[in-house]
């Protein structure tokens, strides 16, 4: 009973850890200076308000549980944990496709699926709710914002599946018909995405800092999925080049 699931999950975990580590280290050097700056500016704003009113102008980074350097480390850990967890879901989705067409070349398949995952869970949600640097975010609205964000991720995933299914169903039709139908689907998905309520929070951050942070946020996630697709695809090629029974040693390389 050769199940394809375990090796695929192993590839997802290894690729997810590698991708998370790459994204975490990249953002540690590229994005942390921005976040530190955003926090200093937030503190300056809070101090100013404090001097004015003296009231409880809830400065959100008031009581610090962790130092900034611990939070820097936490960024890398978070990226690795998220990478592994996303990698598991990727592997499950891959397994569903793989069981129908197990002989397809794993390299392009992994890259295409990783690009699709980036679109669904990173780019589409970010178009509606772009990332905000520290200093933005009202704790009173966080539950609403989480529901909105999860809604955007769900719309991204379902919308991508829908566009893919439209393309599959119209496979026999002329190419212009198929492409137009997919484009209309994408526009409809974007319309639904923008029906979601606006982020209610004020963004009292300098525009260039905000832009740089948002570009880095998208860039980090693009890097994560690019590394993920490449590692997952390469592991698939390696497994395919072996005798059919081979089960690759997975965990050992994951922790290295």
């Amino acid at each position: 009973m050769s199940t394809p699931l375990i090796p695929l999950l192993g590839r997802g975990v290894v690729a997810g850890a590698a991708a998370g580590l790459a994204a975490g280290l990249f953002s540690l050097f590229a994005a942390e200076p921005l976040m530190d700056r955003a926090i200093r500016e937030e503190e300056a704003r809070a101090a100013k308000e404090h001097a004015h009113e003296h009231a409880a102008a809830t400065a959100q980074h008031h009581e610090e549980l962790f130092s900034r350097s611990t939070q820097h480390f936490g960024l890398v850990v978070t990226a690795v944990v998220a990478g592994i967890a996303l990698g598991v879901f990727f592997a499950l989705a891959y397994a569903l496709i793989h069981r129908r067409t197990p002989l397809a070349n794993p390299w392009p398949r992994a890259l295409v699926l990783a690009a699709a995952a980036f679109l669904a869970v990173a780019l589409l949600p970010a178009l509606r709710y772009p990332a905000n640097p520290p200093g933005v975010g009202d704790s009173a609205t966080v539950t609403d914002r989480q529901e909105m964000w999860l809604g955007a991720v769900a719309i991204g995933v379902l919308g991508l599946l829908l566009a893919w299914q439209v393309a599959v169903k119209l496979a026999e039709r002329p190419v212009p018909v198929r492409h137009t139908a997919v484009a209309v689907t994408v526009v409809a998905v974007l319309a639904v995405l923008f029906l979601l309520p606006d982020n209610p929070d004020a963004v009292p951050v300098e525009a260039t800092l905000l832009w740089d942070f948002r570009v880095l946020s998208i860039g980090t996630q693009a890097l994560l999925w690019a590394v993920f697709g490449a590692v997952f695809g390469a592991l698939g090629l390696r497994a395919a080049s072996r005798p059919a029974t081979a089960a690759e040693p997975r965990r050992e390389t994951a922790t290295a």
Binding site: L9, L65, T101, V142
Partner: protein, 70 residues
């Protein structure tokens, strides 16, 4: 090469998932969901002796990945 035509080459045995596969898939999905909840959504539900430890530890990652933060 569309998925359509290629799927004919797969044998029937490959197209069915065993109960064991489903159990493994479900377990992996649940663990991953909990992990994602912990890093991106937790507000002190999972570990909160005196505050939201997980939230603060994952703070920068949440901001960077676009997850809502306080």
């Amino acid at each position: 090469m569309s998925l359509h035509t290629a799927s004919h080459t797969a044998s029937a045995a490959d197209a069915t998932l065993s109960t064991r596969d489903w159990a493994i898939a479900a377990a992996a999905a649940i663990v991953s969901l909990i992990a994602l909840y912990a890093v991106f959504l937790d507000q002190g539900t999972l570990v909160s002796a005196t505050g939201s430890y997980l939230h603060e530890f994952a703070h920068d990652g949440r901001h960077l990945f676009g997850a809502p933060c306080h």
